[in-house]
């Protein structure tokens, strides 16, 4: 009997070692010098919005198809001016010569002038080394890199978890990934080209994410990479992309590990930028003051925890519990956490975990007859798949999101549902909407880069300060120093009677 026991014990050791191996990429990502202080969007610069003030948020702009407060859609002729000249005259020097500022807000950003007036200064951070320890050097000046670009096609790689602790349904992801580009092709594409999407499952594992990103860059020869979700995976791939000179876009996640990367751009607010909104949501919109903060125990989220703590304290909220739970928390851990939340008396739980952890925590809390209001930053916990699996335990959970839910999209972008029905078939879903939105952002950026597209012209266009307005994702603008260029988010609320999220505020910059 002893021999098989030893074999099994060895197998268990290997399994644990494999799990621990996932941490290596996390360590890499946090090896970068962290900003001394994280500044987020200045709460004082925000105004009430959401359903109460639709004029500010664009929620009532459905009649015209363009939300109030949003910049007009970019026209193709505008970006073409800067294309070629930018590519040769201004290669990707911005971030490396002048490192990005954490938490600094962009100009405009789809806000009313009063909202956009405040630009919060924050400390500069040194440029960060890549995961292999190399400095994040841009392509040499004058060297134009057109990898992934042909006369007809621009290849773009997307990574997302379709397995692991935060899974996206792959069929939904596959169905939606080309809808925007097929819709655009009918309108002539981008200077005659269209985008071809290459997709890889990152398994919610940063090591695997780097592997698939490298594969997309080196074998598939993609022009740019997009990270759909997962802070550690985005951080790991973002750092790899920077070390390879590949443009990288993602929804806003952590800033640590991404600040200062020469090719990284967040298309929505980071967790730190969302922290003041969440504190305002708790105090001003929900009207509760006892708050608990629960965050996945990964180093990449240390800064998010600090930002959420600071924002809550600044608004005078009483933080009754501030805890971290394992990325793959056990039933025992989640039950224990739920019980401690209950005994803490928290009325609101500000949660930043994977959907699996969130749902299991909510279920365990419900089993303890404890039903707080859950709030949290985007992206994944506001997806309908979470409401489908998590209701009724998640109650009327409210999450910020870079994209609205399906109930609001007709007002903001009436093209989505018809295009989905035409090119994907079936009922449109919010995962397709997320893809539609980020692809639309990419479209605007590619247009801005001009006809003579290269990685250098693309990065130069992004760093130019131009606003990219899609009316789906928040308007963003960047510079060589600002890579977290969004100022607004949508607010979603779970409707457990329908097992879906609904949109309760669009393009909100404060509550």
């Amino acid at each position: 009997m002893k021999r098989p026991i030893r074999c099994a014990a060895l197998l268990l050791v290997l399994l644990v070692a494999a799990a621990c191996g996932q941490k290596s990429a996390i360590k890499d990502s946090t090896a970068a010098p962290a900003p001394a202080e994280q500044n987020s969007t200045d709460p004082g610069a925000t105004t009430d919005s959401g359903t109460a003030a639709p004029a500010d948020t664009g929620a009532d702009a459905g009649d015209t198809g363009a939300a109030t407060g949003q910049a007009p859609a970019a026209t193709p002729s505008t970006p073409s001016k800067s294309g070629t000249s930018s590519a040769t005259a201004k290669p990707t020097t911005g971030a490396t010569s002048a490192p990005a500022r954490s938490g600094q807000t962009a100009q405009g950003g789809g806000q009313s002038p009063s909202q956009a007036a405040s630009e919060t200064p924050s400390q500069q951070v040194p440029s960060t080394p890549d995961p292999g320890g190399q400095p994040t050097t841009p392509a040499p000046s004058g060297n134009v890199d057109r990898t992934g670009v042909s006369d007809k096609v621009i290849k773009v790689g997307i990574h997302a978890p379709v397995t692991g602790a935060a899974p996206f349904p792959q069929n939904a992801f596959d169905k939606g990934k080309d809808v925007y580009w097929k819709h655009l092709a009918e309108k002539g594409g981008i200077f005659g080209r269209n985008v071809e999407i290459v997709f890889r499952d990152d398994q919610f594992n940063p090591s695997h994410a780097v592997q698939v990103c490298r594969e997309m860059v080196e074998q598939e020869k993609v022009f740019a990479l997009i990270g759909a979700a997962g802070s550690e995976q985005i951080t790991a791939c973002g750092r790899y992309a920077a070390s390879s000179g590949v443009p990288y876009l993602s929804g806003g996640v952590n800033e640590d590990g991404l600040t200062g990367l020469s090719t990284y751009f967040a298309v929505s607010q980071t967790y730190s930028q969302q922290a003041p909104l969440l504190a305002q949501l708790a105090k001003n919109k929900i009207g509760k003051t006892k708050i608990a903060i629960v965050i996945n125990n990964t180093p990449a989220l240390n800064e998010a925890q600090k930002s959420m703590t600071d924002a809550a304290e600044q608004l005078g909220l009483e933080i009754v519990r501030n805890s971290r739970i394992g990325k793959n928390a056990s039933d025992s851990e989640l039950l224990s956490e739920a019980n401690q939340l209950r005994t803490s008396g928290a009325e609101i739980v500000n949660i930043l975990t994977s959907p699996v952890n969130f749902i299991k925590l909510a279920t365990n809390a419900q089993a303890q007859a404890y039903n707080p209001i859950y709030i949290g930053p985007g992206i994944t916990n506001g997806l309908n798949i979470v409401a489908e699996a998590g209701c009724p335990a998640i109650g009327a959970a409210k999450f910020l999101s870079p994209f609205p839910q399906l109930d609001a999209i007709d007002r903001l972008d009436p093209d989505y549902k018809p295009a989905y029905a035409k090119y994907a078939g079936g009922e449109p879903d919010d995962i397709g909407l997320a893809e539609w939105g980020i692809n639309k952002v990419l479209h605007k950026m590619l247009e801005a880069a001009g006809q003579d597209l290269s990685r250098q012209s693309f990065l130069a266009a992004l760093e130019s300060g131009k606003e990219f307005n899609t009316n789906v994702y928040p308007t963003v603008s960047y510079s060589g120093q600002i890579r977290f260029g969004a100022k607004t988010m949508h607010l979603l609320e779970a409707d457990c009677s329908a097992r879906k999220y609904k949109t309760i505020a669009t393009f909100a910059s404060g509550f």
Binding site: P4, C7, L12, V162, N297, N328, S332, L335, N364, A389
Partner: protein
Amino acid sequence: VTEVLAHRGALIGTAVALAAVLGLVASGSEQALVIGLITGAGYGLVALGLVLIYKSSGVFNFAQGEFGTVAVYALWAAHVNGVPYVLAIVLALLAAGAMGLVTERVIIRPLFDAPRVTLLVATAGVSLLAIGVEIWLGEARLRFIQPALGRFDRLSVLGIKVSDQRMLILATLIVLAIGLGLFFSRTNLGLAILAVSQEPTATELMGISVRRLSSFVWCLAAVLGGLGGVLTAGVVQNFGPSFITTSTLIPAFTAAVLGGMTSLPGAFVGGVVVGIVQAFAIGEPAFSHIPGQGTLAVFLLLIGVLAIRPQGLLGKAA
């Protein structure tokens, strides 16, 4: 004295349990006892199936978790299509039993004479295949599933509310551990299964069909795994591909090894011990800065027990 020495494992286990209980109460961590007991019961339920297979054939069955997951999928599919919950559970257990039979017939039986390590790897392959099929057919999305018993607040122990579903798991585990223990010690079929595991050739010569018994054991273990799956899924109310394998299999293996691998009551004890150690490590503020402290504590416990008492708390030395 001989009698006492024969039950040395049980005595050690009891002493360890008492010491743990006293320690937890003294340190003000008594809630970890309750949390450990009710979460450990889930581990123990899966561990029962592992022990059953090991006891009868000497195989570490890495597919045990997937017997449970497949049963959960079957329960969900039946229930969302209008089948009453109780009948859906029966169908789920039948599905798990069928998977166990197919695994035995297609994978285990052709490898019957192969080294046990080969069978271990083969069961891991079955598990990976099942996970792949689950993702292929059902996507990697979480799905909601109702508990068999929906009331949460009937019982409160030391400040922890114990839902009816968790009580059901605990009761099921106790009944099964005792019932299977009696089955193996008091019935001809149980004794025949034990005989097959110890001396298959002699058992065959006695007119007992080794292969038929193997099918029976795998089917029974799969049904146990299925029962663990459907009851556990009712607690967390959602599931996805590899649900039991990722959430329960490793703690269940630990529980089985702690309990002695051949002891069915040991699976129960092991599950509870794993649950309590995990809950204590998680709830103790002194360990809060250690990521994965619960898993680490269980792992250290496993190493400690294997070093001091390789046959486990209630197992018998080979």
